[in-house]
Amino acid sequence: MTDSTMNKADFYTSIVLLIVSLSIIIISIQMPSMTERNESQWSNPGVVPTFIGIALFLLSGSMLLRAIKRGAVKKNESKNFDSNNGTISVEDVSSVSKSPDMSSLLSNPYFRILITIVLCSLYAFMLGKIWFPLATFIFILLFIVVFEFDSQRPLRSQGKTLLWGMVLAACTSAAVTVVFQYLFLVNLP
């Protein structure tokens, strides 16, 4: 991230943290004092969260002030960020949206991050609903096929990728199930 992007990120994060810390303080203060149970008021379950909330409030407040001092609230004309450092430029977005080419999409770090999160979350969502070895097989196969797909090459020539993906997915799924369930006696979802 460039300094200005980081500064903006700090500005918004500190606002979120200020809201969170204030909520922590309010909720903690409302916790029962336990004096009705003849316990010391200092054993109140809200004592420590209140302290944490105050500390977080002070820390995020100083980050907010620092971000403002560094010009986070000034209007920023520059829309082009450094794509090498993990940020994206306006041109990059337009080129991605204009071109449906899967290969260029797969070289876009943001798209790769998104796909990774979506595939992994889907797998986690499937657990408990589908038999574990089957869910694992589908997940590994999908992961390999999506990331190895090359739109420049004809679909037929990519049969090998699919085949290898299926072999690896089947072997992993079987090995993981056998090793964990029968060798290490671990419960599987």
Binding site: M1, M6, A9, D10, T13, I24, I27, S28, P32, M34, R37, E39, S40, Q41, W42, S43, N44, P45, V47, V48, P49, F51, I52, L56, L59, S60, S62, M63, G86, L106, S107, P109, R112, I113, I115, T116, I117, L119, C120, S121, Y123, A124, L127, G128, F139, I140, F143, I144, F147, E148, L168, T172, V176, F180, F184, L185, V186, N187, L188, P189
Partner: protein
Amino acid sequence: MFRGLELFGNAILSFLNLKALFNAIWATELGIIIGMLPGLTATMGVALLTTLTFKMQANDAILVLICMYVGSIYGGSRSAILLNIPGTPANAATTLDGYPLALQGRAGKAIGLATTGSFLGSMIGMIAMLIFTPLIGNIALQFQSYEFVWFSIFGIIICGNLTAPKDPLKGWIAGFIGLFVAMIGMDGIHAYVRFAFGSTDLAGGISLIPAMVGTFGFAEIISVMRYQRYEVVKTKIDRVIPTFSEVFKYWKTIIRSGIIGTFIGAIPGVGEDIAAWVSYDFAKRGARPEEKEKFGKGSVEGLLASETGNNACVPGAIIPVLTLAIPGSAPAAVLLGAMLIHGVRPGPLIMVEFPTFIYETVAMVFVATVMMFILGLTMVRPLVKVLQIPRQKLMPIVFTLCVIGSYALQSMLFDVTVMIVFGIIGFVLREMEYPMAPLVLGIILGDILDKNLRRALILSNGSFAPFFTRPICIILFALTMLIVLSRAKWVHQLIGSLRKKGS
């Protein structure tokens, strides 16, 4: 002292059986492989093995975990040398001189020196562990709630300060977020449910292992998958075993880096990466002018310093785990969790409840270090092939292990959700340069802070005076304030203006 040596000797003998040695071999080799694969960290390795080993006997399980820990911190040097990508964050400093050495066609020598440095570092740390753990353990017996409160706050502050040197504010924020995460669920005194918002899953609290697998495992997978591929240096790996003179030439650097690594390891939450960087920095400052010029261009001294420092940190990080139940690094935090799972209660009472366990742990570090040295100098060439596995084939398998690792301990799908949520949050926070170590330390210290602050206030009837009048409390308070004030800009300005007036 002699009683300690006797117990240590007995503990080593107890591990000289086929079962223990077999466990040590596979766990160390697996550790080396996990460490050398970018995207798989020592923390994740130890967390995943915790799941695998929880049906084992306590001593076997902890031996396996320590072997994994030692092996993976060392294993990261392979990818640092051959790929210019540190296998674990602990090996970041190794890339500076390891990779240039590989480019010069001396990859084999670099691997051999890294192995020797790691071995000597672990040995120095182990000796320190043997001497200081019982001493600190006896001192810790005198600690009361007031001291533990300050330890928790000091731990967060120093960890935040050292893991985010450019911006300690973010380190401290991460630490306090961790402390807050520990507040979710039932409190330890009245079983009052806090911040659960009606969810029965949240009422049980956020477990450490899924949270750590998320922040160190899933977040790392997302990071690794962001880019397409990495290139392995095409170099012939010739002689790996270094000569005695090659290593002995740098004995001062090795001893200094070993001591620095162990000391940094013993500081709560500050892990192997910081130990390696500080050792490297000290070695560079202390090097002869002709050697200093080689730093960053393939210096043997630089490589030895970083690898000695990071592996010396491992035993160092276990010292506070055993004596105070406060982890010295992120993998040590998982180790602490694993010890609790296996019925060992580390902390001030360990010298009373499990007096031989300290020496058994030192013996485990010894076994792991010897295994790491032997395995590190052999099987170098076949293991290089592991680095050539494409990430899109490896990462889904790793994620499957993350899922099992999070799920298996409590058989709850909620823990898988926790892992995913912490992975995404961890990734975003890391992108914004928030360190993860204070966050994890906060999750562990939260419970200690919660119980001890309330207990202390009940004992003092609400008076804060004992927090500032007891000797250890005064020292910890002064150190905490010193760290905070040393990073405040206005303090620097004030000192500057006072100096100007004085001159």
